[in-house]
Subunit: 457 residues, 2 copies
């Protein structure tokens, strides 16, 4: 049996930034590392070519009468910039205390390694476990999984033979409380580009004559929220799913502390959807967010130009049952209508993802046709978490997005059991990302128990 922490180090050392062509070697290294690891565990490994980054399928067990779990993960990571804010090198894993630092440590290499290690230990202890296991590890999660729909369509028969999906790419609220994610937000992303004059202009000679695209962009952006914090786009909330009473009750059990959360974020005032607490707002409500803005001179000192161009990067997080294409159109139409004269407007479309919701057994809104193996997995998770962590899991929707979960559901009908493993302080998508090794240890034990209990009786 391999040492999970040492293997995780090897994995982090591969700088697998999927969005940046400079990291081609890192992507290849990560992919070969994953394929090699499954090979060494006796899995049948297929490296499925896509238009961009290959998807790895690794299978164990062939008896069609056994339950079949599809375990998802991704080997790509976010860009590490700004590098100057990292205290340790982004791609040189460094253990400090009970944490391992490095880009991808928590998203998703650490949690994925947790599940691989669990399976490896389980099969080492019980080589004849009556459970089919297929790992599906993609390399485009951080860029919106553009190759995934084509892959799903081509491999849907093989995937449909699974009973449910299992993954760890969601969050724990703290290291004592497991959350099984019952819903994910979707995504709709695009860029807005404005052009004023045909080139940058001297702000003295021409200032006072034309509309500055930075000003026009600010005017548009400033209209997209109400002062109270609602997205100010007609129709934006039309399809938002009502929150069930059991969901609010489950969230209350979390006992999250607003003061602590504000301190963690470093803010003195929340700005939520009106009528929702911060913890509710990020889980149950959609957003329209500005991920970046640029235009004109950004260096030291001054450059007195009226810039020709300005842009903003916009992302909406969507909740069930909002549809990304519909939301994109609503927001783009609104921006169009609110663009002042004197500037030209262009959109650059980016990726998107559907929101997702799954209801565990025994809730008021559990679907009547829920798969028995899925229900057994949820009950196994209840028991295993209770045993390993000393308290049962909470079932909560969360604010993040794993768009392929909804894609899988749409194409194959499979629901997902999302066992959260990263913590708020893990700094996902930010400098000094890290993963808690104590959580990893408990995660391995929990996944072992869940999979063991899901196997054929």
């Amino acid at each position: 049996m391999f040492n999970p922490v040492e293997k995780l180090k090897e994995f982090i050392r591969q700088p697998s930034v999927s969005t940046d062509p400079k990291f081609r070697d890192g992507m290849k290294g990560a992919q070969e590392f994953v394929a090699g690891l499954f090979g060494s565990l006796g899995f049948k490994v297929d490296v499925v070519k896509t238009d961009l980054h290959p998807i790895i399928l690794a299978s164990h067990g062939t008896d069609a009468s056994w339950p079949h779990v599809l375990i998802y993960g991704h080997y790509d990571v976010q860009p590490a910039e700004p590098l100057n804010l990292w205290k340790t090198p982004a791609f040189e894993p460094t253990i400090i205390g009970n944490r391992i630092y490095g880009r991808g440590a928590a998203d998703n290499k650490g949690p994925l390694m947790t599940n691989i290690a669990a399976v490896a230990q389980l099969l080492a202890e019980n080589p004849r476990l009556p459970l089919r296991i297929t790992f599906l590890i993609e390399g485009e999660e951080e860029m919106g999984s553009p190759s995934f729909p084509k892959f799903l369509a081509a491999h849907q028969e093989r995937l449909k033979s699974a009973d449910f999906v299992y993954l760890s790419d969601t969050a724990l609220p703290n290291e004592n409380q497991v959350v099984i994610t019952a819903g994910l937000r979707g995504l709709a992303l695009f860029d807005v580009h404005l052009t004023g004059a045909k080139g940058d202009l001297h702000s003295g000679l021409h200032g006072g004559v034309l509309r500055n695209p930075i000003q026009a962009l600010a005017e548009i952006i400033s209209t997209l929220h109400t002062p109270e914090g609602r997205v100010n786009v007609p129709g934006f909330y039309d399809d938002v799913l009502e929150v069930e009473p059991w969901e609010r009750a489950e969230l209350n059990k979390l006992g999250a502390d607003e003061k602590q959360y504000a301190e963690f974020l470093g803010i003195d005032t929340f700005y939520t959807t009106p009528g929702f607490s911060p913890f509710e707002s990020s889980r149950f409500q959609p957003t329209l967010e500005f991920n970046g803005i640029g235009g004109g001179y950004q260096g030291e000192g001054t450059k007195t130009v009226i810039p020709s161009k300005a842009f903003a990067k916009i992302s909406c997080r969507l909740v069930p049952n909002q549809q990304p294409d519909k939301i994109k159109k609503l927001v783009m139409d609104t921006i169009c209508a609110r663009t002042p004269k004197g500037v030209k407007l262009e959109f650059v479309d980016q990726h998107k993802g559907d929101p997702y919701v799954v209801v565990p057994p025994g809730r008021s809104n559990t679907p009547k046709d829920q798969s028995p193996v899925l229900a057994r997995a949820f009950r196994a998770a209840d028991a295993a978490v209770n045993e390993v962590w000393g308290r049962p899991p909470l079932y909560l929707r969360e604010g993040g997005s794993v768009p392929i979960i909804a894609d899988i559901k749409r194409v194959t009908g499979l629901d997902s059991v999302m066992f959260g493993l990263f913590l708020p302080e893990d700094n996902l998508h930010a400098p000094n990302e890290s993963f808690n090794l104590e959580v990893m240890k408990k995660g391995i034990e929990t996944t072992k128990r869940i999979l063991a209990a899901t196997a054929k009786r």
Copy 2:
């Protein structure tokens, strides 16, 4: 006698970007070039050290009974970025047709070389010309001349012995019409920085919880103008000088065409101070402009962060009798009052400059105590321009800023004769800057005649 175009090429080849420490060698090269050139013309040259870039003083003629002209110029240039938009290398002078291309060709190396060549030719033809000439060439104009006030205070006695200042760092409306600039706008510049959370955050996990500093910045910016185009800051227009009827009449003689101007800028709608044409607005009215904006992710693709920080670079162009410090305080106080909760506001102060106005002889508002040598210089300019260009000059205020002109006036009492030499199509402060060599030739002849007529009778 030297060849002015060849000397100008040598001058442009020195990459003298004053704001960027990377160009230290270029600054030194430009300074040595200028000092060497005056040395070769028999001038007494002083290279005056400052805290940053030296100022060159070069004098000819010592008879205190002779009129004394102080000729101003600057050897520094704007940054050349974005370099990819240059069609020829920014610091390799290239002649195409009757234009010389290169950073600084028009601002200010070409016009300065025009005046140096005029003086060189004049003295070659008449070595005993009864005129004292002092060139004052600074190296910090493009960064707001931070060392100039200290220099002025230290050298005011020497400068006060001059009768007026002569310079070519302003614009011609077209190559057939000379404009002698009767006023300049001032400047007040600063940056606005907003901070939300203490670090960049995952927009899924935390989206919907806090105010995004990009949104807050846009909200602030969007309030700083009325929809009609006035600066929406209480008190901003309080000290704006009324426009004199002769100024509007002089501008009307220019016969500028709005349609052509819109085509030149590449816009389909003007956005001026209400009640002012584009040509009036940029000359007679102040502005509040956004020179740059930045925050969050600006690369290709997407990065789904809520950024911690966002900033904007703001510059106000001021008209007489607005005061930069007063305007900075008004705008900063307004921004302060309009900053929403949940973000921290900081200002980074940048440079400033007073606006300036001078009235030529014979106008309704000409000061009664105007210096006789200055009045003679203005009348000499009328005659020389008429002879060389076939029509008299127009006296117009312009939108650009040469803050040291107001500084000189304040400290020494000297007014300036500003003989414009660059054209709108010269692309100042922008890629593909160039200078018209035909204008240079006529400029040399005009300056020769003005200085000859200003000499002692």
